[in-house]
């Protein structure tokens, strides 16, 4: 699988550097979420060491937030594990969609890079793939930069959360949403994306409206939207 683009291009240092730069451009948007996780961990009675372990090994904010919401004494081992399994299920199709990059690496470079996969690094890498570059180093560089930023902000949140406490609805916490919104622009490929995206959004809203929580709106929307997109592709291919 290395053979397609020559061995040198599958995972390069230069790619990692580009990934780091791309991630640095959006760290601003990722900072507030880390702060929140640090503050909530502190409020739930986790020590700094426990907070570091959880944030460092999980590196998945939404699932951490949900698990911390159901935190109890003793720690809810099964409930927290299941919450992570369900909420992070959305990352399974992300890994699959990164096949153009991941197919060309193996061993630690493959399974280690996947360990740091995160939504925003995924979006940046998809934009890279669509620009014609397939370097797993880019994905790892971007992910590790976001991880370092994540750990820094979680630490600050845990240590100083009580001092800087911002109200939950503060505009700053909207930053993680605006980051994903901004990343949609380079992922957009033109009008052929319109119908799949509309179907994805509508399906997610319908499932959400039916009272189902995460990850069902995301999975239903992503699956239906992608199915419509693939059907459109096939229909276009069979047209004269």
């Amino acid at each position: 699988m290395d053979h397609q683009g020559g061995k040198g291009t599958a995972f390069t240092r230069e790619g990692m550097r580009r990934g780091v730069r791309a991630a640095l451009a959006i760290t601003l948007g990722l900072m507030p979420f880390g702060l929140v996780i640090g503050m909530v961990s502190d409020a739930k009675g986790l020590s700094l060491l426990e907070t570091w372990l959880m944030a460092g090994l999980l590196f998945a904010g939404t699932s951490q937030l949900v698990a911390l919401e159901l935190w109890a004494d003793p720690a809810p081992i099964l409930a927290a594990t299941l919450a992570c399994l369900v909420i992070n299920l959305r990352m399974a199709p992300m890994g699959a969609a990164l096949a153009p990059v991941l197919d060309r690496v193996h061993g630690l470079r493959l399974w280690g890079t996947l360990a740091f996969l995160v939504d925003n690094a995924f979006a940046l890498t998809i934009a890279e793939i669509r620009a014609g570059r397939r370097d797993a180093g880019f994905l790892l560089g971007a992910s590790l930069t976001m991880w370092a930023n994540w750990m820094t902000m979680v630490t600050i949140g845990h240590l100083f959360g009580a001092l800087v406490r911002l109200p939950p609805g503060h505009p700053v916490f909207f930053a993680s949403m605006t980051t994903l919104l901004a990343l949609l622009v380079p992922i957009w490929r033109g009008r052929s994306d319109l119908l799949p995206w509309a179907v994805a959004g509508t399906a997610a809203l319908a499932v959400h409206g039916a009272g189902l929580g995460a990850p069902w709106p995301v999975l239903a929307g992503a699956f239906l939207g992608a199915t419509v997109g693939a059907a459109m592709d096939r229909w276009r291919e069979t047209m004269p």
Partner: protein, 102 residues
């Protein structure tokens, strides 16, 4: 700096579950040869995942968030600078919250 065994067990369980999600989708794909339709679906997945994640959140947040979302997308489409677009969205939300009559 304490580390309780029950907390550690919960963290390890959560970490294992999360890694299974991160690696599992690709592992499944690598182990099986997917039909062309599935490959075509994978091309469409990225945008659809984010739209499906954003839609319910934005719907819940109301008109001020929609205006902020619009500001983010227009800024990104115009200037192509992610940091600027993120700041524009947050600033828009802040401005709406602080405008007279809000």
């Amino acid at each position: 700096m304490t580390l309780r065994w029950d907390v550690l067990a919960a963290i390890l369980g959560m970490a294992l579950a999360t890694y299974l999600c991160r690696a599992g989708g690709y592992a499944l794909l690598r182990a099986t040869r997917p039909p062309p339709f599935v490959t075509a679906m994978l091309q469409h997945l990225p945008g659809c995942i984010f739209i499906a994640f954003l839609a319910p959140n934005l719907a819940q947040d109301g008109p001020a968030a929609w205006a902020a979302a619009g500001a983010t997308i227009v800024t990104q489409a115009t200037f192509g600078r992610l940091a600027l677009s993120i700041a524009a969205g947050v600033a828009m939300l802040w401005l709406i919250g602080h405008s007279p009559g809000a």
